[in-house]
Amino acid sequence: MGLDFSVLPPFYGTLALGVLWTVAITAASAVLSFFGGILLAVIALYAPMAIRLPFRFLAWLFMGTPLLLQLFLIYFGLVQIGIDLPAFVAGVIGLGFHFAVYNSELIQTAMIAVDKGQMEAARTLGLSRRQALIKVVVPQAVRDVIPPIGNNMIALLKDSALVSVIGVSELTLSAQRAIGQTYRAFEFYAAAAVLYYIINLGMEAVLRWFENRNRLYR
């Protein structure tokens, strides 16, 4: 069986829908991982020990085990305790939390690196510790880690393929469905690869733009 790319056109719609879902799940997870990362960083640096330690343990667990395993845990585990989430939501939670842990590591380092004088100056103006964190320390830390966080988000795009295994109809699963009907694995996986590559390029372009926009304040 050679290659025959004429099998693709009838499935353009299927693939296009897959692209949409891939973009949607990536965007939703990226947003969750970003704000989750900030929250986890603040907890790791400022929360009382009783809260910090369990989170530390959870972070260690999530950084030391495969994302795929975590997706199974979240998808089937939540069902187990009576929470039946749609696969998409389970996927967003799994991807979002996984990458939140990685983002949090970056943000923590950057928060520690923000000059002590910044907190002092904010406190001197009468801001509370929390206000100073939100208005002064976190925004600076986040700007400092935009490039590596952007890399995490690009990694997230590629890892979003994993949610196909819990039944989210994103690009990978769409390709699989088409293969199920045509038995043309190479053509459809190649097409999926090209589409991922294009989304990837788009994300990189957005990231570049963002980095440039942020250069001004340095």
Binding site: M1, P66, Q70, F72, L73, L157, T172, R184, F186
Partner: protein, 216 residues
């Protein structure tokens, strides 16, 4: 937590962990070879080689490893590549992590001060001698830690081959979740084993890094 169940199934997980270790070792070895070749190509004097290296990195880092794996395993036979699932896993993931290692190695090499190569050349060493005797020994020291990050990622990355039914840790966990409906216990078992493998590897990398570190 159902400890009775855990005690009953843990031998299967241990067996699966051995497959995960085997997969890790083979993919990382292949990745290091691909990385060395890729970095050489990317730093080559020849434009065509540089282009090939860049294309390699760009494709494998620009698309999901899972898709690459499927393309090789399910799509391979259409272009005359017949591999069993384990072979496809090793080759697919090894070549994939090789693209990341290419960038790690290239980064370490270009981080070495240009003056080092120049100094060696002024002593009369050839370009390749200067690279082998002066630049590379320094770059190797520099790349251990970032390669450790790649290796850590790859150990977890071996979980992907569960999607082509290689019976490693994640596949085993998934199968037992399906048959026992005990996701937490199964996650716990597989998780502990992954953490053990990753922690030991991490310690090994840190030891190596300390061992070859130059006195500051």
């Amino acid at each position: 937590m159902d400890t009775e169940l855990i005690l009953k199934v843990y031998p299967y997980f241990l067996e699966a962990a051995l497959i995960t270790i085997e997969l890790s070792v083979l993919t990382i070895a292949l990745g290091l070879i691909c990385g060395a070749l890729g970095a050489t190509a990317r730093l080559s004097r020849f434009k065509s080689l540089r282009f090939l290296g860049a294309a390699y990195v760009s494709f494998f880092r620009g698309t999901p490893a899972l898709i690459q794996l499927f393309l090789l395993y399910f799509g391979g036979p259409q272009i005359g590549i017949q591999l069993d699932a384990f072979e496809a896993g090793v080759i697919g993931l090894g070549v994939n992590i090789g693209a990341y290692m290419t960038e790690t190695m290239r980064g370490a090499i270009i981080a070495i001060d240009k003056g080092q190569g120049e100094a060696a050349r002024t002593l009369g060493l050839s370009r390749s001698q200067a690279f082998r005797k002066v630049v590379l020994p320094q770059a190797l020291r520099l790349m251990i830690r970032p390669l450790g990050v790649n290796i850590n990622a790859q150990i977890k990355g071996t979980a992907l081959v569960s999607a082509i039914s290689v019976v490693e840790l994640t596949y085993t966990a998934q199968r037992y979740i399906g048959s026992t409906y005990k996701p937490f216990e199964m996650f716990f078992l597989a998780g502990v084993l992954y953490l053990v493998i990753i922690t030991i590897t991490g310690k090994g990398v840190a030891y190596l890094d300390r061992k070859v570190r130059l006195p500051a």
